[in-house]
């Protein structure tokens, strides 16, 4: 009876969005500690029995600590639900003490898990390892992606949307790879081409353009900026963008680029003082992690862990991680690699020097250590040894070796468990609007990947190709999964996880700017002039129009979720009313010389803005407007204005 009840509700759970990992799909559906139970514990129990508070010394963050139990003994007796303390507390609503009791489904999961032997988590989310030494052909990888996606959809009984029309694919792949919509001529050429492999040729073509490198450099810079502590951006982002853009265009692997950014030499705090250094090129990354104008090993640790390793280690800076299995010493062990050098030659939390340790007097150290600086913790002022998160201490000669370089070597080694998965999840998410793991910066056990097999496959490809980003993008963009339409079907419109149809992404501020320039055929969207006079001094230098526009559209938010439209009324007003959008750009004038018949004009305007022909209904609406308007030039200006202000223009579907 119990078993029946249980399997019914576990089924409900899976059909409502939880996804079975491929690895366990054939086996019996017993609740898994990591996949099923830990999310419940995290939401309802860890506030009091986690890394920060451990009431009655009970820590429910890991399988081991749960079995160990607290003051009153083990929380669970495997196989015996009734004799398990946790069940007694939960089933009688003695716990949780808040109003958020466990639901019937959640109880059934706990019950089922104990009954089946309270087993440790399945290894569905074990880190990918490099499984091959040479990358496969993109088409093969794309086919494997499609198999994995379709298998999951089939199991969830969700139909995939059909493959997108050429026009939809065209606009999407331009925006995704080079960050702007296609020009009218580019669009026409592709739409008219009869080549059977024109999609994959276009992917190759776009990846060979300089705009590809720039676009992805900007994507990465915006990711780094999400983690900035300061509100102030460094002036030199353009130098960094060009540096990284050129590397990407030259085919330098992402691993090599990251290595350079992490191990880069920066002047020590003492050499240069506080705020004086203008970061250049590779140095920019550690400067995004500065804190109040100072290079800061602590912030660098947090940012590195999140951006490159996908672990929320930063929570363990001040206390053991409340929900995950990270101790404060894990955090500071990693920070020790990033410490600056104090006056006594010993690493400290000031600055970010990577010079080997110099000892002026006293006994030379045999290992790299750092003092935990923390106001409110049990480990206050403990000295910890440099240690790779979840791994051993390094073999490092403190007097000879560069510490950050040693860390970067470890991070970028093929067997590193963190780097590849975090990277491919990011890149995938860039194309699909969401990753296999929802939080790009935190692969925690409570949100296992929706498609562990594909994540592993792509990580393996990334490693084998030495993190050749173009290879990864080819694999993704040539898949049917990527080429599906964004139009949902009645049967898949609620799916936001299994990639049954393309998610609508909002154009980034930079992509919107470049697309507006492209459609209007203007060199720039001018910086608006300050309102007249009134004692307001003009700024000493005119800002770059593109930067100014991007800043205005980004507002104060650091955009990370590409499916969210974060701007509002002020930005809408600008596109509605800034004169440049009322004048039809150079496009209208050029088209009128080409073919001034209303039908041809309207068709060209649609292709220029949307990369597609107007629907019959749209044609009718626009023709009606054209007929009612006395002055053609002004009329076409208005039509173009309507197109660029519409939702479709701002979205990538």
């Amino acid at each position: 009876m119990l078993r029946l009840q249980l399997s019914a509700c576990v089924l409900v759970l899976f059909s409502s969005g939880h996804v079975l990992s491929q690895e366990t799909s054939g086996s019996e559906r017993v609740p898994d500690f990591g996949r099923d139970l830990l999310p419940i514990l995290t939401n309802k129990c860890l506030q009091c029995h986690g890394g920060v508070h451990r009431k009655n010394e009970l820590d429910l963050r890991t399988h081991a600590s749960l079995l160990k139990g607290g003051k009153t003994g083990p929380a669970v007796k495997p196989g015996d639900v009734k004799a398990s303390l946790i069940w007694e507390k939960v089933s009688t609503d003695k716990m949780p003490k808040t109003d958020l009791k466990l639901t019937a489904e959640e109880r059934a999961i706990l019950q089922g898990w104990i009954a089946a032997g309270a087993r440790p988590p399945a290894s569905a989310d074990t880190p990918p390892h490099h499984e091959q030494s040479v990358p496969r052909k993109p088409a093969e990888v794309a086919a494997a992606i499609d198999r994995g996606i379709e298998e999951q959809l089939k199991r969830a009984m969700i139909p995939p949307s059909p493959i997108a029309a050429d026009s939809e694919f065209l606009r999407r792949v331009y925006l995704d790879i080079i960050g702007r919509i296609p020009r009218l001529d580019e669009a026409r050429q592709f739409l008219e081409s009869k080549e059977p492999d024109k999609r994959s040729r276009l992917i190759d073509d776009l990846l060979s353009r300089p705009d590809y490198g720039r676009h992805f450099a900007e994507i990465w810079i915006n990711i780094f900026n999400v983690f900035r502590v300061n509100d102030k951006r460094e002036p030199n982002a353009a130098g960094f963008r060009d540096w990284m853009g050129n590397k990407l265009n030259d085919g330098v692997g992402w691993g090599e680029i990251v290595h350079e950014m992490l191990a880069v030499n920066v002047p020590s705090f003492k050499e240069k003082g506080n705020n004086k250094v203008i970061p250049v090129e590779a140095q920019y990354f550690v400067y995004t992690a500065q804190n109040m104008g100072q290079l800061d090993p602590v912030t660098t640790t947090s940012v590195t862990a999140q951006v490159f390793m996908g672990i929320g280690l930063h929570c363990a800076e001040c206390h053991d991680h409340p929900f995950q299995d990270f101790e404060q010493t894990d955090y500071w062990g990693m920070a020790a690699f990033f410490g600056g050098l104090g006056g006594n030659g010993v690493p400290n939390t000031t600055g970010l020097s990577d010079e080997p340790i110099v000892i002026k007097s006293g006994k030379p150290p045999t290992m790299v250590t750092l003092n935990i600086y923390s106001e409110e913790a049990r480990h206050r002022n403990t000295r910890v040894q440099a240690r790779f998160p979840g791994g051993p201490p390094p073999t490092l000669d403190p007097l000879k070796d560069r510490r950050r370089a040693a860390f970067a070597d470890w991070l970028l080694a093929p067997e590193n468990p963190y780097f590849a998965r975090t990277y491919v999840n990011r890149i995938w998410g860039q194309f699909f609007g969401h990753g296999f793991v929802a939080d790009f910066a935190d692969f925690n056990k409570t949100s296992p990947p929706t498609h562990p097999g594909i994540l592993r496959l792509l990580a393996s490809e990334a490693i084998a190709s030495k993190f050749d980003q173009r290879h990864l993008i080819r694999c993704i963009c040539n898949s049917q999964t990527y080429q599906r339409t964004g139009k949902p079907l009645p049967g898949n419109k609620n799916d936001g996880k299994l990639f049954s149809h393309m998610t609508g992404k909002v154009l980034s501020p930079e992509a919107l700017y470049d697309s507006l320039c492209t459609v209007l055929e203007v060199p720039e969207i001018p910086v608006p002039k300050p309102e007249t006079g009134k004692g307001k001094k003009a700024p000493p230098t005119q800002p770059d129009p593109r930067e100014q526009f991007a800043k205005f559209f980004r507002g104060m938010s650091a955009v990370q979720d590409p499916t969210e439209f974060v701007t509002g009324v002020p930005q809408s007003l600008r596109v509605l009313n800034q004169p440049v959008f009322n004048k039809g750009g150079a496009l209208v004038e050029r088209l009128m010389k080409l073919d001034a018949r209303p039908e041809a004009m309207i068709e060209n305007l649609f292709i220029a803005a949307y990369a597609r022909l107007p629907l019959a209904e749209e044609r009718a609406d626009f023709v009606a407007f054209a007929r009612s308007h006395p002055e053609p030039r002004e009329m076409y200006n208005r039509l173009l204005w309507a197109l660029v202000n519409s939702s479709e223009f701002s979205l990538n579907h």
């Binding site: 102030k232 004692g535 104060m556 009313n577 208005r638 939702s647 479709e648 701002s650």
Partner: protein
């Protein structure tokens, strides 16, 4: 956790934004369909407050150099105020003259001294928790006091500049479970207000072509059903509505007399932010937040705060002006920070007076909105280290704001994934002495 602050979960936009596309296109009225059930007006009429201006001193304003100068090792001289017996730092002479309107809350004791967490706490009443995204006071005020069909936004967030050029990333008021339509409209520069308010063509022609946008969007939304498109459409609709409104001038400081602008101060954007806030409340915007960055004065409060005279000028002018216009009784003005700064704890790093973060005992103030002014609530010891009388928690602070504005602190909401949420804890009680 920086990433917790930023993005809006706008899944409910689609529901909301799909509605206007079906309305007659000649009207720029936002979705009547989506209007919440009519508010309980009897409840509203009990409320004394109708508008709110929240001044947030981002970084950690030193109470020792402003509104609670400790008697022991007095770091700055104090002056008398308009209320006998209440003394504040001498660099606030104009504000001192408004003290009869002001209640100083000297027993703020909020327990968290991390910028981000404490900022979140003072905006929402809660420490950050990855499992739920809480709305800020302004978002809740927008939801409970605002009208969805109002021409003006129901919550405006004004960037009031920085007092030292630097800044810690501020908490961006996030609507969380009250819904994305209660996100603030941000004014980056109060002196410029909202720009691009002049259509480039005649209004009839403008409307006719805007009609095309609506037709395009309706089809696009029907076909692709993406939340991003829903919010894009809603933002455009709001902008169009504002352009047609007779209240569009609310954002324009040029409509104020030079004397008024001068009175609020032109040395720093804070003065303009205060003036713009007053204008917006006057035009019916229920909640305005002014964020002033740069108060993280590690070691520098002593030297720097006395020079920031524009803060004194702006705050004092705001109170005086609201009073003169008869608006102070219906407008709650409050000034707070994420925490205060350390008392004299020794000579170590961040130990000296005013240098480190300190959440155990700090000072905020409230005025107007039915608050009894001219009083001090709470008391610290002579070194300013401990609250020895009437400590105030973050939840009590927020409950007090609710009481003044007529917000229901127990209102039940639901998160996007269906989890029931109450705005404040049952235990949160307003500070009774203030009313």
């Amino acid at each position: 956790m920086p990433q917790s602050n930023e993005t809006l979960s706008r899944r409910d936009w689609l529901r909301f934004a799909a509605a206007p596309a079906l309305l007659p296109l000649s009207s720029w009225i936002l979705p009547r369909l989506a209007l919440a059930a009519p508010r309980n007006d009897s409840q509203r009429s009990l409320a004394k407050g109708k508008g709110c201006i929240m001044i947030f001193m981002k970084g950690g304003l030193s109470q020792h150099h402003t509104f609670n100068v400790p008697e022991r090792d007095q770091p700055v001289p104090t002056i008398e105020t308009s209320v006998p017996g209440i003394r504040i730092a001498e660099s606030f002479p104009s504000f001192a003259k408004q003290m009869h309107h002001v209640a100083l809350l000297r027993g703020m004791s909020t327990g968290n001294s991390n910028h981000e967490a404490a900022d979140h706490l003072m905006h929402t009443g809660y420490l950050p928790n990855p499992s739920v995204r809480r709305p800020s006071t302004g978002n809740v005020a927008s939801e409970q006091l605002g009208r969805l069909d109002a021409d003006l936004p129901n919550f405006v967030y004004i960037v009031g500049g920085s007092v030292d050029g630097l800044g810690v990333r501020p908490h961006r008021p996030h609507p969380g479970y009250v819904g994305a339509r209660h996100a603030p409209v941000t004014v980056e520069d109060p002196g410029r207000g909202l720009e691009f308010m002049q259509p480039g063509v005649g209004m009839a022609e403008f409307d006719a072509s805007a009609n095309l946008i609506n037709q395009l969007n309706r089809r696009y939304l029907d076909t692709y059903q993406s939340p991003g498109a829903g919010s894009q459409h809603a933002a455009t609709q709001k902008a169009l509505q504002l352009l047609h409104s007779n209240k569009a001038g609310a954002f324009d400081l040029g409509k104020e007399s030079p004397a008024t602008i001068e009175a609020y101060g032109t040395a720093h954007s804070f003065g303009k932010a205060c003036l713009l806030a007053r204008r917006l409340v006057e035009f019916g915007v229920p909640f305005v937040e002014i964020m002033v960055n740069g108060w993280d004065d590690h070691g520098g409060a002593q030297k720097k705060i006395p020079g920031r005279t524009y803060i004194d000028q702006g705050m004092a002018s705001l109170l005086a002006d609201l009073h003169d216009r008869g608006m102070l009784e219906s407008t709650l003005v409050m000034c707070l920070s994420e925490f205060g700064r350390t008392p004299n704890l020794g000579t170590g790093y961040n130990q000296s007076l005013g240098s480190g973060h300190y959440a155990k005992a700090w000072t905020a103030w409230m005025a107007g909105g039915g608050i009894k002014g001219g009083q001090v609530i709470g008391k610290t010891d002579d070194g300013g280290a401990e609250v020895i009388e009437r400590p105030i928690s973050a939840q009590e602070f927020h409950a007090t704001v609710c009481q003044s504005l007529g917000l229901d602190p127990r209102k039940q909401y639901e998160t996007p994934d269906g989890r029931p949420m109450q705005y404040l804890e049952n235990s949160a009680k307003p500070i009774a002495e203030l009313f």
